[in-house]
């Protein structure tokens, strides 16, 4: 007979792992199904310096600790799976994977997280790892003595642009608006850095090169004028999008494809909860994801008791 888990969690980022820790510690049989790397957006952060109680920790270390905590409480984790179908009807819900396996759970916590947005431009796939990067910490040193472009205007873009000035001789930030969405301290750090130049109200239109990225084209949005910029590399930080495509028409979402939940992390369906970067919220921090994962697990436990 198939095992029916008390809680199945979709996703192993900060919210999913926290939900896994809480539900498995509450002696609920718990399974985490994870499509990507364990840790989610946490592992994209070099250093986390604002996690209360921990002075400074590398993102992957925090993720690894959470994973071990969940496993030590008995939580099962299956990574690199791909869900093909959700069936949320009835008291026992079923999740089918593309490899033919299926898992049943009395309650489901959706924590699929988000992913960095790509620009979906001509040449983006071709030059990934050959000039296009999504991580300054990882790849910055390849661009020592070179000129790079950073795309975006949020905290990540400006902070990573400043970090890249350790290596690059010149960093050009291309941003679609005439102002930045980043926090003031990040804007000040970037604007006072002599190696950083700004191309505002502009968007990239294409990547070109011969085996390696050599230039990008940029459109100045108010005038429509297209110009070329020679560059050795482009770092893309244009925000995140929720990984909720496969849940569309199954649970209620807003226009940004974020899952709508109440204060108890309940969705519109009985026994289905959601937490982390996939839900309708303003602030996306490890601490908020952890809090929501906790609430979702406690709400799921309460649902199972009732």
């Amino acid at each position: 007979m198939d095992e029916v888990f008390d809680v199945i969690i979709i996703g192993a980022g900060a919210a999913g792992l926290t939900a896994g820790i809480y539900s498995s510690r509450a002696k609920l049989s718990t399974l985490i199904l994870n499509e990507g790397a364990v840790g989610g957006q946490m592992v994209l952060t070099e250093e986390i310096a604002n996690y209360p109680g921990v002075e400074s920790v590398k993102g992957y270390e925090l993720a690894n600790t959470m994973k071990m905590q969940a496993k030590n409480f008995g939580c099962k984790i299956k990574s690199n799976i791909k869900v093909s179908k959700y069936n949320f009807a009835g008291d026992v819900k079923e999740i089918e994977l593309t490899d033919g396996r299926s898992f049943k759970g009395k309650s489901i916590i959706l924590t699929p997280g988000g992913r960095p947005r790509s620009l979906n431009l001509e040449g983006e796939g071709v030059f990934k790892g050959k000039g296009i990067s999504y991580c300054a910490t990882c790849d910055g040193d390849f661009f020592t003595g070179k000129e790079v472009v950073v795309v975006g205007g949020g905290n990540s873009a400006l902070e990573e642009a400043v970090a890249l000035t350790k290596y690059a001789t010149k960093v050009t930030i291309v941003h679609q608006f005439d102002h930045f969405q980043a926090f003031e301290h990040a804007i000040q750090e970037a604007t006072k850095n002599p190696k950083i130049e700004f191309v505002m109200e502009s968007e990239l239109r294409g990547f070109y090169g011969n085996g390696q990225l050599q230039k990008v084209t940029i459109e100045h949005l108010p005038t429509g004028k297209i110009s070329e910029l020679k560059t050795d590399g482009t770092f893309i930080f244009v925000g995140y999008q929720p990984n909720t495509e496969s849940l569309e028409n199954l649970v209620q979402m807003n226009e940004r494809k974020e899952i709508i939940v109440d204060a108890a992390m309940k969705t519109n369906l009985a026994g289905i909860f959601a937490a982390g970067d996939c839900i309708n919220k303003r602030y996306r921090q490890v601490t908020t994801a952890v809090a929501e994962g906790t609430i979702a697990a406690l709400s799921a436990a309460e649902y199972l008791r009732n």
Binding site: G36, A37, V38, G39, V43, L44, T45, E46, K58, G59, Y60, N64, S79, N80, K82, K128, G129, K130, G131, I132, S133, Y134, C135, T137, C138, D139, F142, F143, G211, Q212, G233
Partner: protein
């Protein structure tokens, strides 16, 4: 010296790499750091290690001086993103990739180079 913390075999010296390649027909070596572009590839390899018994999986620290043969391989010329992932058949490089790779991208290379 151990550079990486994964469940995969870590190769620490150039000699060890040479020996590993000479003893195994199909080898995938991911040369990276403990960062966001590398960890997903290690996760994929850990998952595949159980399923693909015809392939040997290992990692090597990108900052390990002994990994020079990977960093300087002609197949990696132009690579500007870690990890550098190498696929060897009978000791020869048959494919190399730069930066993060998905499960689908890795399995597609394994299928085409080493068979299913």
């Amino acid at each position: 010296m151990n550079y990486l913390r994964t469940a995969l075999k870590e190769i620490e010296t150039a000699k060890e790499l040479e020996k590993y390649l000479s003893e195994n027909e199909n080898v995938m070596v991911c040369c990276g750091r403990m960062g966001p572009m590398c960890l997903p590839v290690y996760d994929v390899m850990e998952e595949l290690e159980e399923q693909r018994t015809n392939v040997k999986f290992a990692v090597m620290g990108f900052d390990n001086p002994e990994a020079a043969s990977i960093r300087n391989a002609p197949e990696c010329r132009g690579f500007m993103g870690i990890p550098f992932t190498m696929y060897y058949k009978n000791g020869k490089i048959v494919q190399a990739t730069s930066s993060i790779q998905s499960m689908q991208q890795v399995t597609s290379i394994l299928d085409s180079k080493f068979g299913k």
